[in-house]
């Protein structure tokens, strides 16, 4: 399984439809403080089904929708699409949230439930709680886990 692209639209500071293509090897994301790099990490965990507001750095889920800036009004919809390839097959996972709070998930363009997204990603190493995603400021967490938590992480690696 490989990531091919990530598309953000109206998600946090990404007012415009923006596409990232994932390359092989090592990719670095760079830019000034506050320009949107960590918002991309938020977009990835969000589209995979993150429901906790704290790890997304928001107070309520609607806060992930572009809230306006000096030159622009707020919008009413945020959408993130993650495209993957698995054994030659293309898979796209999309999540949308409307200003009124309605939340939708899609796999390959068809509307599904959160559970379907979770089932799709289970065991692939790509998922909301993947140990392989280290959020800003979280780098010590793997070292400071309690022994029982560490056991759980190892069990999930089998």
């Amino acid at each position: 399984m490989k990531l091919s692209s990530l598309e953000l639209f109206g998600f946090k500071s990404f007012y415009n439809r923006t596409v990232f293509r994932f390359s092989d090897g090592v990719t670095t994301l760079v830019g000034p403080n506050g320009c949107g790099k960590s918002n991309i990490v938020d977009a990835i965990v969000w589209v995979l089904g993150e429901r906790g507001t704290k790890s997304l750095r928001v107070k309520e889920m609607g806060d992930v929708i572009f809230h306006g800036s000096n030159g622009r009004k707020p919008v009413n919809l945020a959408e993130v699409t993650l495209s993957l390839t698995d054994d030659g097959q293309d898979i796209s996972i999309k999540r949308r949230i409307y200003r009124d709070g309605i939340n939708e998930y899609y796999i390959n363009g068809e509307i599904v439930r959160l559970k379907d997204v979770q089932d799709l990603t289970m065991g692939t190493g790509i998922g909301v709680n993947s140990y392989a995603i280290i959020e800003q400021g979280n780098i010590e967490y793997l070292a400071q886990m309690k022994p029982v938590e560490r056991r759980t992480v190892i069990e999930e690696t089998s």
Partner: protein, 147 residues
Amino acid sequence: SKELFLETFSRVNDAFQRFAPMLFKGGKGMLALDAEGQGVELYIQPPGKKVVRMELLSGGEKALISLSFLLSLMETKPSPFTLMDEIDAPLDDANLVSLLKIMQEISKQTQVVLITHNRITMESSNTIYGITMEEEGISKTIAIKLA
């Protein structure tokens, strides 16, 4: 099942005992089941130092421990990608260079994405995406392919 866990544990522990000395040159690390068999303890001995509680260790040392453990999990069951946000912030240049060598190796079978402000990290990567906010409050990206 218990056998499956013990077999996975043994593979992760093997990997940890190999990665820890790479990041802590001259140091050692190992995992161990605790007395009740309920949890997994982590022991690290930086070069020349005593094995001590995690709290005493420095910010950079704790980051290196986390990364050694992460690499061990990744070697045991490769993840399609890894995404790390400013993990180089607490590291000195020498440790960062060792880490990036290992990340290059890992990147042969895993897509590695690193968010960074660090020049050394940028220069070691194959692709750079620049993110800016020319239009106030709105993120925009440009891709700069290196290699």
